[in-house]
């Protein structure tokens, strides 16, 4: 696909979409947003890039292997944060009772476990959507024989 308009608009808009997605993930405990929404926005920016520049170009930026790694890593990170709660004397996935640093409500680095879990969820949702997009688009290309 060689569309000048799509490429120009995509080149302009992708950084802002990714910044907004990162904002949704990092400020999920202070404002509307969170790991799921932010991860979906970040993944949408990568899918937009792959649609307008072709999948090979997108795979040079974010390789499928890295996407797989982040996908499993996000889930393992979530489990790890939950297990830290057990190590610190609480039950699985406890926040305040386990002694996570709660901070001052309203500051960026506050609310202990919520911030850490939102990071893992954001990574996991974004890489899940990107991985699914890579795989599904591969199937379409193979069937019609016109790889983009």
């Amino acid at each position: 696909m060689e569309d000048l308009v799509a490429r120009s608009v995509c080149r302009l808009i992708v950084p802002f979409i990714q910044l907004y997605g990162a904002y949704l993930v990092f400020y999920g405990h202070l404002s509307p947003g969170g790991g799921f929404a932010g991860g979906a926005v970040v993944a949408a920016s990568i899918v937009l890039y792959a649609l307008s520049f072709g999948r090979e170009t997108a795979e040079k930026r974010i390789a499928p292997g890295i996407s797989h790694l982040l996908e499993s890593g996000g889930g393992l990170w979530y489990l790890l944060v939950g297990l830290v709660g057990i190590m610190l004397g609480g039950s699985f996935l406890t926040n305040k009772a386990a002694g996570f640093y709660l901070g001052i409500p309203g500051h960026l680095f506050s609310s202990g476990m919520i911030f850490l879990l939102a990071l893992g969820l954001g990574l996991k949702v974004a890489s899940t959507m990107v991985t699914l997009f890579y795989n599904l688009s591969t199937e379409v290309n193979d069937e019609h024989g016109n790889g983009t």
Binding site: G28, H29, L30, S31, P32, G33, G34, G35, F36, H68, E71, S72, G74, G75, Y78, L79, G82, F92, L93, N95, K96, L102, G103, I104, P105, G106, S110, S111, G112, M113, I114, L117, A118, G120, L121, K124, V125, T128, T131, L132, N135, L136, T138, E139, D142
Partner: protein, 120 residues
Amino acid sequence: MEINPLVIVAILLIVAYTFFYTPVGQLRNLLIVFVLFMIGATLVLAVSEMPLFGSVETPAYNEVARHYLDGTVPETGALNAVAAIITDYRAFDTLGEATVLFTAVAAALASMGAQREKGA
């Protein structure tokens, strides 16, 4: 209206087994209609047991919601009550959601990835 849902499920299971071992024909179509009717009747029964719209006795109006709204800032340190519920009060539930995502990707990779290796 006092029908045990287990009885309905048992009847549906028996009908489903009969339907499974019946050859294609008129009896099979009749059984399909019967099974669909039974499933619909079960759903209607389930709806009739639900609390009325706007009723005070609805389980959603118990003290838990008030506790979450009051306890979000002192108990979790977050300002967003939704984030506090998703990743603190109900964090184990969210782990299940993350597992659903993982399962979806594993299934897609297992089916699509195998075909891709065979084709190209």
